[in-house]
Symmetry: C2
Subunit: 193 residues, 2 copies
Amino acid sequence: MPRPREFDDITALDAAMETFWTKGYEATSTAELCESTGLGRGSLYNAFGSKHELYEAAVGRYTEVGYAATIEILRAPGTPTERVRALLHWVIDTDLADPSRRGCMAINASVDTAGRTDPVTDLTRRHFQRLEQALREVLEEGQRAGEFATDRDLTRMARTLQSTYYGLRVLGAVTQDRAALLDVAEGALAALR
Amino acid sequence: MPRPREFDDITALDAAMETFWTKGYEATSTAELCESTGLGRGSLYNAFGSKHELYEAAVGRYTEVGYAATIEILRAPGTPTERVRALLHWVIDTDLADPSRRGCMAINASVDTAGRTDPVTDLTRRHFQRLEQALREVLEEGQRAGEFATDRDLTRMARTLQSTYYGLRVLGAVTQDRAALLDVAEGALAALR
DNA sequence: GACGTTTTGTACACATCAATCAAAAATGAG
DNA sequence: CTCATTTTTGATTGATGTGTACAAAACGTC
């Protein structure tokens, strides 16, 4: 009986996510969100409540999509070494190909909300933990396959790889030096053996 | 013959740096900068030109002070292994002890100015390169001392360690799990051997 | 002690911000 | 067709933002 929405929630959310990702939370105005989503002010507030709630939803959307993409790479066919390398090369390629050099939105969001008590911080924290777990699974498989060192603690290796991965994303948003980023990737792989 | 300033430029700059570091560029208002520096509007603009120029100066100040502190640790007495460990433990301690969880201001600044053509981006890029060079020197010394692997490329090892370091700073601003961060530190050291 | 110069304080201009509100429009059920 | 409900539209509101203008104040110098 009510009037139906003229827009798709996910489509609008994706558009808002892109805008927040590109400009950051504070630098994004509600007018820009209206423009990128195609919604009017009223519709935007009616659908998402407030700028900050929309931001939370956008970060949540990013972590879901990003995690799914990561998992897909880490569970693709191939040896564990190949799959970890594929993940690292993938972020190098995407970070370098992005003309706006946005890097990883989860990192950006954790910087944007640093210090504050913010639901977004919990989202990013959870995202980081899920990545650690996903990496641990690949490393464990690699240990069983004899590709990775077995005389070292699995959790420690996973956390170190995760840390290198996030550093790679920080550097990938700043530098254009592909060789330097590939060095990091190969160094991270060498550290597993 | 002119009227002398009532404040010290470096002191004011340090105060502005702290504010930008804590809140980020966009979320910091000029009123807050006046409050933290103790300067009036006129004095602030007269001395630093604009909010953005002040930000550039603040980031420049951070990179200088931060680089000096890093170098001091990396060139302190002790074996290369001990010095790298000291650096990693130092950032873990400072990141966890900071109640506002600000992380590394160079990383934050690179996120704040991502995509834009901004002098700050050059500052952070240069900062990252200097850290890479400093790490390379310690690693080279460690290779000569027989502490680190000599069958791997020095630059590659330095870049990987650098990346792990920055990942550690990202995680250090989000988590409270000291054991996880220490895992990263020990994993980074194990990767050098 | 007067002058030129810079700093300081404050008021203000002008833009932009997030959010609200009320009326009109669009739907399906009865 | 009528009604209840939600969406849409666009104007508006009140706060806040950065930057400027200007006059008074504080120095060193002559």
